[in-house]
């Protein structure tokens, strides 16, 4: 037995940890066990990848299987890291169809959470690009599924938080890119209205996301920087930065946070100062398009190892909600007002437009998503409970890959496909056997 946690380092649970070396030993190890769930690289923030009794690591399932350079079709085992895919294929001119905010995730984790990226409004979630996957079901069977084969099981597995079984393997297409650079445009929004309008206006960009200042008040309430970007063509790279390496490597993070910082380093003043600097630096770049390498554009925090440690020993909570368009303005205002009043709000609040997700339990619905992180203090729990209530009453919901604390009530009220998902789990024999701390907490 060991104690493990998600990326937010809250909560911690005791579990047995098993590490099969291949698909066959995954099947043998899982046979007859209950309270088991599969864990990728542990980047889910809360308790999604911690088994109630047993956690199966997909670390050994890290082999790539096949790649077709004509179609871009790639087949890999589920424990392969996104960072490995980028390292192997970006230099050959291919980029994953969807990437989340960190590249240190596994393919199995990306499917189980149906992760979204800065292109969700245009290209959907990662699950939308999966052509086939192999699932080890709780009965020990290996089942192939995809949008055209066992679609019911497939769409329950996409976004299904690992609760239909262990994903062993997946096939999806990489897209061709001419360079590893992004042409980025920054749009300054002076308040929340402008931010929302700006995101709508940049919806034709492949990638679009806003960084929102949750501390600013008054006329600057909700001020944001909107980052829109496209993959740079070879011609654009040659024009904007002649002689640059077309596929720059990801540099290993030079910064890391070696110690848990004491919690007092995060207070209203330090966050406000950081936000002010960030906003000014971003606003100074507004207007003209400029080049930025893929790694800092998509994965800015990967450059700082163990960044969660700035939140101190108690860890931190991520909170990501999505709110339907009609209610978005009112709810976002109410949420940001509460955060702004609390003061020690988020360094990193991100606002983005989502379209409806495809998996039964996929997080995205059409609307605006707001992602926050907050260090764990006693007063943060009632605050987030209140925010959850506002979000769910407006028809919104929370992202399970980031959740560590929402109530069963808010969850049940906001995922209408839950009863269908439970039926599928019963049919698979997953109920009571495939159980994570998250599924136990939420009664899935």
């Amino acid at each position: 037995m060991i104690e493990i946690a998600g990326w937010g380092r809250y909560p911690r649970h005791r579990t047995r940890l098993l590490a099969p070396r291949d698909a066959a030993s995954a099947a043998a190890l899982a046979a007859g066990r209950t309270g088991v769930v599969t864990r990728g690289n542990g980047r889910a923030y809360g308790d999604a990848a911690i088994g109630q009794a047993v956690t199966v690591s997909s670390r050994g399932l890290d082999r790539m299987r096949a790649f077709d350079p004509v179609s871009g079709r790639l087949t890999v085992e589920a424990g392969v890291h996104l960072s490995d895919i980028l390292a192997a294929f970006l230099p050959r001119g291919f980029f994953p169809p969807v990437v989340p905010g960190t590249k240190f995730v596994t393919v199995g984790g990306m499917i189980a959470s149906d992760v979204h990226g800065k292109n969700h409004h245009r290209e959907g979630g990662f699950g939308d690009h999966v052509e086939a996957l192999t699932l080890l079901t709780p009965s020990g069977e290996t089942v192939d599924c995809g949008p055209d084969r066992n679609p019911g099981l497939f769409w329950a597995t996409v976004g299904g938080m690992g609760l239909t079984g262990t994903i062993l393997e997946a096939t999806f297409r990489l897209k061709a890119v001419e360079t590893g650079w992004m042409v980025q445009r920054t749009v300054v929004a002076e308040n929340l209205d402008e931010a929302m309008a700006g995101l709508e206006r940049t919806a034709d960009a492949t990638y679009s996301v806003a960084w929102i200042d949750c501390v600013a008040r008054g006329a600057r309430f909700g001020r944001s920087l909107i980052f829109a970007a496209e993959h740079a063509t070879r011609a654009e790279l040659d024009a904007l930065r002649p002689g640059a390496e077309p596929f720059p490597a990801a540099k290993a993070g030079r910064l890391s946070v070696p110690l848990d910082l004491p919690a007092f380093t995060l207070n209203r003043l330090s966050v406000a100062a950081f936000n002010e600097l960030y906003f000014r630096a971003g606003a100074a770049k507004a207007g003209q398009p400029f080049l930025v390498a893929w790694n800092p554009y998509f994965f800015p925090l990967d450059g700082i190892g163990d960044w969660g440690r700035i939140y101190g020993r108690r860890g931190f909570l991520q909170h990501q909600c999505v709110i339907p368009p009609a209610a978005a303005k009112a709810v976002l205002t109410a949420v940001i007002e509460r955060l702004s009043r609390r003061g020690s709000a988020s360094f990193l609040a991100v606002l983005k437009v989502l379209r409806a997700g495809s998996g039964l339990m996929s997080f995205p619905i059409e609307g605006y998503t707001l992602a926050l992180d907050l260090h764990v203090t006693d007063d943060v729990f009632p605050l987030l409970d209140e925010i959850d209530r506002l979000v769910v009453e407006a028809g919104g919901r929370l992202y399970l890959a980031k959740d560590a604390r929402q109530s069963r009530e808010t969850f049940e009220a906001s995922y209408p496909a839950l009863s269908r998902f439970r039926e599928i789990r019963r049919g698979l024999g997953a109920e009571g056997r495939v159980v994570s701390q998250l599924s136990a907490r939420l009664g899935i």
């Binding site: 291949d22 690591s57 082999r63 790539m64 050959r92």
Partner: protein, 245 residues
Amino acid sequence: MQGHKTVLVVGGTSDIGHATAKAYAGAGWRVVLAARNEAGARRNAEDLATRSGGPVEVRALDVLDTPSLAPFLDRLPALPDTVVCVVGELGEQARAQADLDHAVQVMRTNFEGPALLLTLTAERFEARGSGLIVGISSVAGDRGRGSNYVYGAAKAGFTAFLSGLRNRLSPRGVRVVTVKPGFVRTRMTEGMKLPPVLTAEADEVGRAILGAERGGDVLYVRPVWRGVMAVIRAIPEPVFKRLKL
């Protein structure tokens, strides 16, 4: 690209063997994997070929099958530029104390098999006048400890063998490098609390082995191990024998 040099990785299904093959394939080398478990080696070969887009070959080899060693080398498409021997088996100390068959297995797998294969490799490299031999030994061979001395003794033997081979071949254009990985984070150690400073990732070991192409004789993947083992070796025996290690 290294101009299509070829590396033979013996023990290509272990985590370190695979990491080594990945490092070489990533640097543009042709890779030949040899392993007892051919299916496992094929899975790794597929992985390497998918990642690198280059060719990878698989050969079946059991280093304990002594008569098969020379034919194995002679049937390779060409004599490789580098041979990396990652073969090894930790075994279980308690079992090795009580069960001689298990002790024999650990001794042969960690010493006899690798040493004989490298003897034949060295003979061919010496005739050609070039080549690099990399043997993966262990810090466990630096001093026998109660908790793993059967394994440690076999590794100590292998370390001495590599040292002698290096001494004999260094005037003849053939280099021999001894690699001591220390603790390695692999599937086998998942969840174990290993001291971070002393623990290398498997890929880090792979890169360090590829680094042996540039030079060196005895390589500790994490240099801090050199100091740690120097201290452990320096403890006087009357004190050492009372320690629980």
